[in-house]
Symmetry: C2
Subunit: 310 residues, 2 copies
């Protein structure tokens, strides 16, 4: 597969209502989630992962996902995504009418067991079962399935993750029925040269099925890694407003790539996002109010307020 | 000039004692500066900008630069640099025995006037006078002169800075006697594509005289921009411990590239720095003690302590 040219327009996919909230100290009220998702969509975000269908006793912050999905589906033009690690969750997702299901598969065996209680191979089998559910659903109710390849750039539990494992699992996910595969730097251990190498290696194996990257800012490299991925032709970038997030089952991992900083960077690069940066930043107020005490990260919110004050 | 391959070893040049302290709220006691610089050198930093010879009533934080230089010169193997904007300052720098003088020349006329009270062209003439002082000094007492091209990537006062102005001034600085030219993103407005373009354009004009980049993290892009510059063959990167700094005469600009995050990134990239990251991070304690209330930035200090705690 030859290198792909950098995209002149990218898709910024918001994962805060799922990846951000599952790591928040407080549980955000359903009503605040609705307002937040509405504000994000109004700012121009066209894809939002609004929750996950997992055991509510394990992730109580997302126990109201069905309600949140129902609201998100009323927002015109919005792709409504959820995370589901197994067929039971995917059944609920399909019943709820989501447009997209992300199925996590960890490249690190240690993280896979800690995160979803399955080996990577068992997660691939779960993805196969979810794809079968999708295929059995009536037309118009078949969600896109994205395999989310976690810890693709390293794991705080296992250490280095061999590139061959990542490529092998990406191939297995596509073979099991994933429409798309995203590479997740769950622990924020990736560096931009590694991003370029891994994108090339995975693209050589699964071509256009490689859709996007999901980056964390543990080492301050989320934007550098996003730039590197963009240079290699990646066109979809997960982000979380104010950088909320982390992974409860990956010690030492910290927040997601900051959505508004991704948007700011791409606009600076002359790349269209369809997103209004000022309206996006304004949506942080909902987080400040509904998640008191939670740290809000990000450079764009700071420099734009300094600019207004100057 | 053809593209240069990425360096397998880079020089991280610490500017905290100059660029960091001139923007700090408190004045760091001379004794603490000595301990800080000693700790930085002990961590493996081989070049430190320890102060500036400017009017003490304008920058009282650096009024003790001659004393600090005298101490820094006792540290074996350390390149001792200072900033001097004019011949009067350079005379004091040469008398103090520094190894290197950085002469700031702003590409933005508005910033040049606000920062040093001279037009860009007058700053080039100041550099010429400083080069004459260097040439007149006895052998063994002739410092390297680096022209620091400020606001090369944009200016909060002027707005966009034309690439042609940057290239023209870089050529003028070399012609006036600068041994090296560094590109400064004083306001943190640069983006990684722009960094690549500008490095190529300036290198095409002055070749190996283009030495390094000085980046700020206003938009969270300091590391992305450093990576882009490294990919274009740049081998010297200014940083400030804990990201101290900014520019009092560039509204909205915030901290410098965080030295320890630069070191962490280059080590992740497999690039040698000669610096011990743990000892470098430990030196932050001196800042915390000697500059109470000052915000200390940086990802490396956080994730390494999380790793230890996990």
């Amino acid at each position: 597969m030859s290198a792909t040219a950098p995209a002149s327009r990218v898709l910024i996919s918001e994962v805060g209502p799922r990846d951000g909230l599952q790591n928040a100290h407080a549980i955000m009220p359903t009503e605040a989630k609705r307002r937040w998702i509405t504000a994000l969509a109004a700012a121009g975000l066209s894809e939002i992962e609004v929750g996950s269908f997992v055991r509510p006793d394990r992730v109580p912050q997302l126990a109201d996902t069905a309600e949140v999905v129902a609201h998100a589906l009323t927002l015109p033009g919005l792709t409504v995504a959820v995370l589901a690690p197994n067929a039971r969750g995917a059944e609920r997702a399909i019943a709820a009418g989501v447009h997209k299901i992300t199925v996590p598969v960890s490249a690190s065996r240690a993280h896979a067991l800690a995160n979803v209680g399955m080996t990577p191979e068992q997660s691939v089998e779960a993805l196969r079962a979810i794809a079968a559910l999708r295929d059995a659903a009536p037309e118009g109710h078949r969600p896109t399935i994205e395999g989310g390849l976690s810890t693709a750039f390293g794991c705080t539990l296992q250490g280095a993750v061999p590139e061959d494992d990542v490529v092998r699992l990406a191939v297995a996910m596509v073979e099991a029925g994933a429409d798309e595969v995203g590479l997740s730097d769950t622990t924020g251990m990736g560096n931009p040269s590694q991003v370029k190498r891994l994108v090339r290696a995975v693209r050589a194996a699964i071509g256009h099925r490689l859709s996007g990257v999901h980056l964390h800012d543990t080492r301050g490299l989320a934007l550098a890694n996003a730039f590197a991925a963009w240079e290699e032709g990646i066109g979809t970038f997960d982000g979380s407003l104010a950088g909320l997030g982390g992974c409860p089952f990956a010690p030492g991992a910290s927040g997601n790539a900051v959505t508004e900083d991704l948007v700011s960077m791409f606009h600076d690069l002359g790349v269209a996002t369809g997103i209004d940066l000022d309206r996006l930043i304004a949506a942080r107020a909902i987080l400040a109010e509904a998640l008191p005490g939670e740290a809000l990260h990000g450079a764009a919110a700071k420099w734009r307020s300094a600019r207004v004050a100057a």
